[in-house]
């Protein structure tokens, strides 16, 4: 505050309000600071004094409010996906990959890059993985996702057409990629005709539910019927997805939960969570396996084969 207005600050309430406003501003709590400065103005208006010093103080407070509003506007405009340095991109790939197998860890690392908005570098890395033949079906869909995230539907379509022409993907992987791309483009309201593919390796009439499996499922909610507790729901994170089967890990200490699932058991009304939507379907318990090595040793993997509605 300017020296000539210090006398006003003898007014304890005014001083308290200004002090709070200044501290909140220094803490980066801009909305809270603005609110306090507005309280200062309100207080002074109520006080109904009109000396020059008062006017100066009101002017100073208004200037501060304007500055805070500018800062708030600046924060709203910031680029939320800045291109990070190569070192930071490498770090993200390293610290956000958890799988025990090298190949899946690589896919996870690149997927993390994409999730942190580094789509261009993720594209480079996914293409490298695809070239090495790492999880082609999964990687292909992520490549398309990166193109779509970069607001380039044309590039995604062009990429898909290229795969159809160059034979880099198997027919099944192409069908998965096509189904995924068609779903996303349809959701975006983009009408386009992708090349016709031979559906013979799969069921002739792929149902809506199966087409949706081209989306990545990151978690699911399963209804469990417990005789003592009745019907309740449990959330699982998907640790691996391959075509129509998803895998979830059940910790060893929850063995009783695992025991509620027997091979071939039907699981109705599963909610599947994908990055874009939630959908409901049915499933069948396909496999139960104990993990023999690694930090998850002793835990169990439950494989669920997803059935169309």
């Amino acid at each position: 505050m300017e020296p000539e207005v210090n006398m006003l600050l003898e007014d304890f309430q005014l001083q308290t309000l200004i002090n709070e406003a200044e501290v909140y501003q220094s803490q980066g709590l801009l909305e809270e600071s603005k609110e306090k400065y507005l309280s200062v103005l309100h207080y002074m208006t109520d006080d109904n004094r009109s000396s020059d010093t008062y006017k100066k103080l009101i002017k100073t407070v208004n200037v501060r409010i304007e500055k805070i509003e500018e800062d708030i506007a600046d924060f709203e405009k910031i680029d939320e996906t800045p291109t990070l340095s190569h070192d930071v991109q490498n770090l993200i790939q390293k610290v956000f990959s958890f799988s025990q197998t090298k190949e899946m860890a690589e896919v996870e690392g690149v997927l993390a890059l994409a999730k942190f908005g580094q789509h261009e570098q993720a594209l480079v890395e996914f293409h490298r993985l695809l070239g090495k033949g790492v999880a082609p079906g999964v990687v292909a869909k992520h490549i398309l996702e990166c193109h779509l995230a970069l607001s380039s539907s044309e590039a995604a379509i062009s990429q898909f057409n290229q795969w159809v022409a160059n034979g880099l993907l198997t027919q099944d992987d192409l069908l998965d990629a096509q189904s995924f791309l068609e779903t996303v483009l349809r959701d975006k309201g983009i009408e386009t005709s992708l090349p016709q593919l031979d559906h013979t390796p799969r069921k002739k009439n792929r149902t809506r539910g199966e087409q949706r499996l081209a989306l990545d499922i990151y978690s699911l909610k399963i209804q469990v019927d417990d005789h003592s507790e009745g019907l309740y729901e449990i959330d699982f994170d998907v640790t691996f997805q391959s075509n129509d089967t998803v895998s979830v890990v059940i910790p060893s200490e929850k063995k009783t939960l695992l025991d509620r699932f027997h091979l071939g058991m039907s699981l109705p009304k599963i909610k599947f969570y994908t990055p874009r939507a939630v959908f409901e379907g049915n499933g069948i318990v396909a496999e139960k396996t104990e993990i023999k090595i690694g930090p998850k040793k002793g835990d169990y993997v439950l494989d669920i084969k997803i059935k169309a509605n």
């Binding site: 980066g28 709590l29 809270e32 930090p295």
Partner: protein, 204 residues
């Protein structure tokens, strides 16, 4: 997700500093980096925006020496506190072994503390983790601001509305001055390693 290399006797774990925006998570890590530089295995990495708001995360890897015959390495992360960055917080939480919840002592940030704690609980649940079972320490930060006449919550009030059911250890702190920062980290490490000892049996 902690990693235990049985052959080389190395254990790596991950501790995440969680809490509402501008509560002092990054300040904690900055102090730890300055004060414990000899333990840091690389520079601290911050991905932030204008005004020092964390955009993605802060990252500080540390080697804290041998404990019970194993080399213990810890990765310290912060999350972006602003509510709009929920998906980033979920990413950073992946594989977490221990959590420090930094609560803002300012009276005006009471609701934000509670929202952030609920957000943490929901994000953990999505990873099949339970707030009540994960090693968790509370830090009630910015205690020094009361000296400037700023209204802050009493510790008993913070305990009552944040930690009443969880009943986890808590520390008061002024991260900017470093007060309470080391104690919080030490307690978090102790709880996390004890938990991992039970889970992974990394030391006999």
């Amino acid at each position: 997700m902690a990693f235990f290399n049985q052959k080389d006797k190395v254990i790596e774990c991950k501790i995440v500093y969680y809490g509402p925006g501008m509560c002092g998570k990054t300040t904690n890590l900055e102090y730890i980096f300055r004060a414990g530089r000899s333990y840091a295995t690389t520079d601290m990495i911050s991905i932030n925006t204008k005004g020092d708001r964390t955009l993605y995360f802060d990252f500080l890897p540390m080697g804290i020496g041998r404990i019970m015959g194993c080399d213990v390495k810890v990765q310290l992360f912060t999350v972006p506190g602003q509510s709009k960055y929920r998906s980033t917080r979920k990413m950073v939480l992946k594989g977490v072994d221990g959590i420090v919840f930094v609560a803002d002592s300012l009276q005006i940030r009471k609701n934000e503390n509670l929202s952030s704690l609920k957000d943490l609980q929901e994000n953990l649940a999505e990873q099949n983790m339970d707030l009540f079972n994960i090693p968790l320490v509370f830090q009630y930060n910015k205690r020094d601001l009361s000296e400037n006449g700023i209204p802050i919550m009493q510790v008993s009030e913070m305990e009552s509305y944040l930690n009443n059911k969880l009943k986890v250890p808590f520390y008061t702190a002024s991260a900017l001055k470093g007060n309470g920062v080391s104690d919080t980290l030490k307690k978090s490490l102790k709880l996390t390693l004890r938990h991992l000892q039970h889970e992974l049996r990394w030391a006999n």
